[in-house]
Assembly symmetry: C2
Homo-oligomer: 105 residues x 2
Amino acid sequence: MSSIVDTPKPPYYAVIFTSQKIDEDKGYNEMSDKMVELVSQQDGFLGFESAREELGITVSYWKDEKSIINWKANLEHQEAQKLGKELWYKQYKIRIAKVERDYEL
Amino acid sequence: MSSIVDTPKPPYYAVIFTSQKIDEDKGYNEMSDKMVELVSQQDGFLGFESAREELGITVSYWKDEKSIINWKANLEHQEAQKLGKELWYKQYKIRIAKVERDYEL
């Protein structure tokens, strides 16, 4: 379940993760649940928004770049990244971006 | 139809548009098709990625901030923005972010 994240006043960081998954599960859903739990405990993590049709888009929000680098280096997360490359994704692109301004309805 | 955009080397800009739509169409799909056609003609537009489940996420990519400001001010787009507020969206958030680095599989 994903809803619009109540992020703080900019600047903060966004990691835009866009992917094309294989059709089979191959352990993906279990690992995905585990990563959601793990990422929620990370310093500087502000929340994430996610949707998937042909394309999967997950945008996670972070206090600063250091928090993003720490999360990428997390050992359990590294194992998930390795399996992602080997098993689950046909293609993905990750973009690290600094949110400069935002507005809402 | 949405696929991973072949964006240029950073820096460039991303507009992250996250929304919760009403269930009824009320002219949304027609306007959405029209806006896809229109945005593709804008100077500095690099492409977009989109997916919707409970949450809709559309990330559009732009050469620079000026291109984003011009698109927001486009008259036909302004009419769509107005209808979005009045008719189609329960809630949305728009974040303008500078992509600093990216990598891919």
